[in-house]
Symmetry: C2
Subunit: 187 residues, 2 copies
DNA sequence: AATATACTATACCGTTCTGTATATAAAAAG
DNA sequence: CTTTTTATATACAGAACGGTATAGTATATT
């Protein structure tokens, strides 16, 4: 509802991606968002709570963008998995791409006991399961295996792009994905 | 020379990997290393200098371990690239594996102007070039293309293992790598 | 015995961090 | 017009941060 809450959430999302999570203080967030700490702490009880919400929203936004792309462009189940990396390329090469939230967060919070690390890990797992479902619907036998391989290519390409913008890694990830998918279909 | 300098370097390496770089203060490093800040700042002029040295040493250690494995186990050039992921698996599944320094560092320092980010990026590029050299010596045509794809699988598998120890991702990365390498050889 | 080197111990600098308390202005609702 | 809500402004607490200054100890060399 509140537009101020969204403003804080969006500002934090942007700052976390461009400066890192630990390097971004709440003072900076409220200054950029044009509000005060009191308001921030009214909506988000702790900084950790804010981080968790940022991660959740980022992932939801990405997933619904991808879902929409797949549903409007691909008819047959086999088309969806084949076109998956086309949309991923579109997303990665978009000027607004700033990286994948859960990949960066898991590096900043390496301890597996940490709630932020755990959420990152869960999001990574859920994305892999999403790919597995696509593979399964395309009647691929080892759907989980293919999904894992594709997710490695995906995370590797995102990592490469985070390190160097315009790396072009996604082009080669696409080729590799095509090879793996074709191999899995003809089995 | 100085054993105390090494002690600080090794302690920092360990703490950075297990707690994150930004989350590890110099006070913690000297406390765990059993020395004082004065000594740390004698050997490393700034925390950033220490971080850069830690990254360099970690990468050197990994590279010389891998070089040694390849040189003692693989004779023909084609064997080296084929066995590459066997050794990477050995490294990733080793109990002492704590992640890849440059992958985590680039996430903690996302700004491309930052010296730490730049070093991470350079190390990633050099590792890719190392794989490309292996591919080239095995007479593979598009050596750079294959190297990029293999590095995506590698970084993806490391990422997966950093998120969840014992993920088993490297098994599937190996399979995918074999497929890509065989495809590139028969061309 | 004097000197250089390596290191420790401790206190401190200024800054930044997350988080809170207080007091006030603005606006919406009764 | 008054009450209640919502947000602001600002100051502060308490701890941690990177980094420095000072004073002193232990050991080895000359």
């Amino acid at each position: 509802m509140s537009t101020l809450r969204d403003k804080i959430l969006n500002t934090a999302t942007d700052l976390f991606q461009t400066r890192g999570i630990n390097s971004t203080g709440v003072d900076t967030i409220v200054a950029v968002a044009g509000t005060t700490k009191m308001t921030l702490y009214k909506y988000f009880h702790t900084k950790e709570g804010l981080i968790l919400e940022v991660l959740n929203k980022s992932q939801q936004d990405f997933q619904s963008w991808l879902d929409n792309k797949l549903n409007t462009n691909s008819k047959a189940p086999a088309d969806k998995i084949k076109q998956l990396f086309d949309f991923i390329e579109e997303w990665i090469t978009s000027p607004s791409f700033l990286g994948m939230g859960f990949i960066k967060a898991s590096a900043e919070f390496p301890n597996e006991e940490n709630p932020i690390h755990q959420l990152s890990s869960k999001q990574s797992r859920e994305f892999r399961q999403f790919i597995s479902k696509l593979a399964s619907e395309a009647n691929i036998k080892d759907a989980d295996g293919l999904a894992l391989q594709l997710s490695l290519l995906f995370e590797g390409a995102v990592q490469a792009e985070q390190m160097k913008r315009g790396s072009g890694a996604i082009k080669y990830a696409k080729k590799a994905a095509k090879l793996l998918i074709d191999g899995a279909i003809n089995q």
